[in-house]
Symmetry: D2
Amino acid sequence: MDPASDSLFARLKATCAEDWAAYVDHGFVRQLADGSLPDACFRHYLAQDYLFLMHFSRAYALAVFKSERLEDMRQAAATLDALLNSEMSLHVAYCARWGLDEGQMAAVPEAEQNMAYTRFVLERGLSGDLLDLLAALAPCVVGYGEIGARLIEAPAARLDGNPYKDWIEVYGGAEYQEVAQGAVDQLDRVARQRIGEDPAASGRWQSLCTTFRSATRLEIGFWDMGLNPPD
Amino acid sequence: MDPASDSLFARLKATCAEDWAAYVDHGFVRQLADGSLPDACFRHYLAQDYLFLMHFSRAYALAVFKSERLEDMRQAAATLDALLNSEMSLHVAYCARWGLDEGQMAAVPEAEQNMAYTRFVLERGLSGDLLDLLAALAPCVVGYGEIGARLIEAPAARLDGNPYKDWIEVYGGAEYQEVAQGAVDQLDRVARQRIGEDPAASGRWQSLCTTFRSATRLEIGFWDMGLNPPD
Amino acid sequence: MDPASDSLFARLKATCAEDWAAYVDHGFVRQLADGSLPDACFRHYLAQDYLFLMHFSRAYALAVFKSERLEDMRQAAATLDALLNSEMSLHVAYCARWGLDEGQMAAVPEAEQNMAYTRFVLERGLSGDLLDLLAALAPCVVGYGEIGARLIEAPAARLDGNPYKDWIEVYGGAEYQEVAQGAVDQLDRVARQRIGEDPAASGRWQSLCTTFRSATRLEIGFWDMGLNPPD
Amino acid sequence: MDPASDSLFARLKATCAEDWAAYVDHGFVRQLADGSLPDACFRHYLAQDYLFLMHFSRAYALAVFKSERLEDMRQAAATLDALLNSEMSLHVAYCARWGLDEGQMAAVPEAEQNMAYTRFVLERGLSGDLLDLLAALAPCVVGYGEIGARLIEAPAARLDGNPYKDWIEVYGGAEYQEVAQGAVDQLDRVARQRIGEDPAASGRWQSLCTTFRSATRLEIGFWDMGLNPPD
């Protein structure tokens, strides 16, 4: 996906281009793309992602609570429902194919990078307003869309026989691309509500950039974690 | 509905029996039952209830955020979804038949009793834990079930030609009775998680009773409000 | 006190001039000014104000939590300290002279108008950001300064022999006027941080006005409550 | 300091004895004790600790907000005041002697381990109740007391000429020992309020243990961070 260059998302991304590149073009992502990622890394990532999804669901619930308009409540509630009732179930089914059952995943100790990221997002949402929360969520939601789109557009050869083909097809697929675009649009809409037409000219621009960049760096930390499974 | 007498709900109710009776057997309820409630009162109630449902949806979103277990997250998210996506739509459709459109309702100034109740519940949930939040929500969720069951069991004559028949059938109907029972069960389950087998013997019993009684009194205030529509 | 007319506070006040007048020139205030307020009303007000101060202290604690800058944290913490450690003690000492002891006040049932106001402020602070919280706090903090200044500038005759002279001198006095001015300044400073130079041109102006007006109306409700002591 | 063995603190500590030992007897602590810690490590620790203190202040503000009793509000507010108005100033003065000025420290990027720890504590406090928050704060507040007491009781030889003598004397000193004991007592008092006489027999014992152990592990991560200053 390729958000309009004047979207708030695109402008935030441009303020931390180097970090963003390090996230979407991370070694973990490259090894997913060419299928060379060790099994143990992917399984470690999947197990931590299960815990991550629980906390991300909580973050969307928080977004419902923090919404001032019914439209925003409903969009956040739809994401919450998708996370809790489809994505987590799909995740569990998918993980089963990688030899991980739900009980195991729920019992895995939460990695520090996972805690750092999820708690940062939740706390940002609680101490700030809905816009701060959405800015903290965007690198994940929209970034996975960008990663998926990139990988799926890569030469088809890489998908054939790639053990991570399914993963790539989920995030690169039309359904997820729509979710990511919805998040871009909501960020613009809520920015208009909470600041006005030109967020970058406002007093809180630096604060939003810091939130967005922090979340991007925490995504990098999450991939780093994936590359370092426990023995 | 008639929760088991050793449920936490039944025990909380027993500590404020007089307030509870004043709520479930309020003049507003009696006039609903015999159809004598003035139109203006019911319309005032409906318009305020629209705003109430928005804040109650937010309270269930908060319950998702505050849950420690996936099971509790899912139950609260299901209620949130029901509120935002069916109950509010039904409410809007129902109100249309009483001459109220959604734009009007969203623009109605929130009555003080409405603010007192909804903000009390939300704030209790934020300052306390999930159990405090559920104790603040219970008088509404379970109380409407009790009121509905009472009215529907009253002589059928009262339903025939009663302009409030639909309202009574919703809350007295099997579907809503199940929702109310689900709330009773969740209160017990979360009490076991957060206190143990005997909540009434615990140090926070008084605090839970105060929360429950306050919410019950705020329900009384809500009916009082209904009987006093603005000119 | 008379905040600069281009302060955010003055601009918010101007958007709800009628409500503001009904608050600062309320019957309760007039009767305080000429000393005609019945004892029972003042005692009822004092007892509820004790509970109010506890929740207002909590709101300032929340402002510390929600601050992004050390300067804002320190200003809110200073107010919290003043409320918890001087104002509440002064209040208790003052109330003792009116025949109310602290145990009695802590045991008084919280009036609905009190709950509506305090929980509205706390919840607004939790669902919004620091600026929303400060906008909800301003009508109380700054309004009492305006009321005190008005009453103290009224003909001195009204103070002689007025049983409410002390109350008037506290809020009209230099020390409290400084507190009120500090709140006006902080509102401007945080608005620059969170919106920019022209809050009234921003997308959230309506939301801030609604918060400010709601709090003003809840102040009116608090005075109404004072005039209606329980039997 | 040596909390009574039946205090909640002592019981929580006993459930994660191995993690606790790894925290209070960490390499960083040993090198502080014998003065062998490299300057660069200590400066890195100090700069991160400045940011840590800001978020810990916010956590105590949250404890004020979440308190149900005036006594608890006042104890948390006193800690907040001590942190914001003495400890941070002392920290700044102390850091100046190590060549770090406040502007530098405020501009240092927050280390991931720092974010993980502070946001975990804040989020735990927001999603849980006051007891959950205090359980998340205890390993830091009380643990530093234990570390200080251990180091100060070590042979005096280690203090003479030890560049970290001041640090050891602060946390081992009578004043800090009292703060730590106050935290132990408050944990017991709030546990009685929120659970009852026997927290370990309650349904939430596992949840409290998990919170306490997670915070202990995050303290270990903080020391690890200290030993790995950026180049």
